[in-house]
Symmetry: C2
Subunit: 335 residues, 2 copies
Amino acid sequence: MTKKFNVAVVGASGMVGGELLGLLETRRFPVGEFYPFNSGRRPAKVSFRGKKYACAKPSLAALKKSDLAFFVSTDEVAEKFAPRLAAAGTWCIDDSSRFRLTPGVPLVIPEVNAGELKVSKKLIAGPNCTLTGAAVALAEIHRRFGITELRMATYQAVSGAGKAAMCRLEEEAKAHFKGVPLKPGPGQFPRPIAFNLFPQVGGFDEAGNSGEENKVEAELKKIWNDGKIRISCTAVRVPVLRGHSLAVWFTTKKNCTEAALRKELLCTPGLKFFAKPGNYPTPLEHAQRTDIVYAGRLRRAHTAGNEFQLWIVSDNLYKGAALNSVQIAEAIAGL
Amino acid sequence: MTKKFNVAVVGASGMVGGELLGLLETRRFPVGEFYPFNSGRRPAKVSFRGKKYACAKPSLAALKKSDLAFFVSTDEVAEKFAPRLAAAGTWCIDDSSRFRLTPGVPLVIPEVNAGELKVSKKLIAGPNCTLTGAAVALAEIHRRFGITELRMATYQAVSGAGKAAMCRLEEEAKAHFKGVPLKPGPGQFPRPIAFNLFPQVGGFDEAGNSGEENKVEAELKKIWNDGKIRISCTAVRVPVLRGHSLAVWFTTKKNCTEAALRKELLCTPGLKFFAKPGNYPTPLEHAQRTDIVYAGRLRRAHTAGNEFQLWIVSDNLYKGAALNSVQIAEAIAGL
């Protein structure tokens, strides 16, 4: 008989929370008792395995009843509870950015670095949704040929900014057809998003890099356990509802052929690689509630020796967030 | 008194043709007689300076009545008429891709290389709409510091594919709200475009590069008169109606500071540079019937020495096509 886990979900009524609950069901994660929490600002009910649950406001005492707690909430909520809860012996899988770069906290994508998971480290972070596609797709190539430089232009779906942002895109698009600009409202971005796009995800630092661009760089170095790789990113929000896409350039230390890379991509865990030239994934067609990362259009870049280009697409809510958290839980269950 | 030009427009009833006619009026280009042509497949009328004109099917005899002919049509139509018409003494400004790379045919963006215009070369090509933004924005930096490598991820509006493609995006978006996928129809792209995007603009060659990516590389080398610069591009179609955006990485031969580059960008002809950190252009806000190229988010890249990132936006129908053609005509008028 499989060991059952009493599971808490903090942020259960949010968008990633909803996806997480669905995945715990469909992937048959061995949930014993189930404790959903939300911010407590609004009453909310969630459905899980055919039963309705009222979300409670989180407290350390209530959370301690769980063996495993998913945090799909804010940095603040994670900070308030996760370290103390983990110290008390509950596995904490945090999808916020708060502890991703904290030394001693494993930052894990199971296909890439499940080896970082240890019984002695109960607080585990899942990475930013944008770099996940690249981290998975290029993991084997990095292992085998050594990636020294990585450039990445992103095409990020609005769902990365939450439910209200998805509604906002749709409302702005409807307003476009009515010919009337939409008034400011919930989920609004710094710029119009319907039939538009803008190179800002998060705030800017003094050097002019956005929060998202800095996360991609720092978190990828940690996940690949390689502080020497040089990474630069331009993060762009696009009018897509779900699915992040990446145009990447990578340079390998060892000489390699396109054929050798193709072979590596075809056996990379968690990746479906479109090897046929001219075949490629798109967010709407391939990244809607899908578990794996997709890539295509591998080709040699004309800019430098040993430099290649690749197109990567993944579901920012599944592999980029909820699914990755559940996969971490599954790996923990197998420890 | 200004010399007047009898002007032919081949493709007058198309989308770029419409923009061109408007620009000839508003910029007060000295048009004498006006001869609009279209494919002749459908009867079409166009308005110019308050008068309606029926478009004629083009013939060399009819075109010869003009001093200056704009070709905003297909490669085939340009091939059929432009060389013979130019040989007969009529200035031919061709916006198709047919002659862009032909030796002896100047490929011109007036702000960048007006010096290529010569009375002895009557057939002149305008470049692809995608690279125009980069060619203008980086021209002075290239002149001063020598760009050796250029990487470019594009975010291309559907209007680059014509009127029917713009309608298709809107119809697909409406169908999304109705919950019914749209049937195949005019303007359809290889993949769904509403709330989606895809890395394909044109067909693919054997190496896996798209037609657009190859154009960017070859045409930019010709415009900058620098065959040594190494360029790689990923061209992506996005659900934006008008305005192409570019995320670029460029490497300079000479050492330079961000401050020096900023200074150069602020006095680059035809460019508005957003020097304030965190300030940037977007297609919907800045590239709707605007004459100049916009750039922002200059910063040092973390990938290599002397490497920088820049965000560039321009109106693909104006500066990328119709406006550039009119500006070439204005430069010719001044020869």
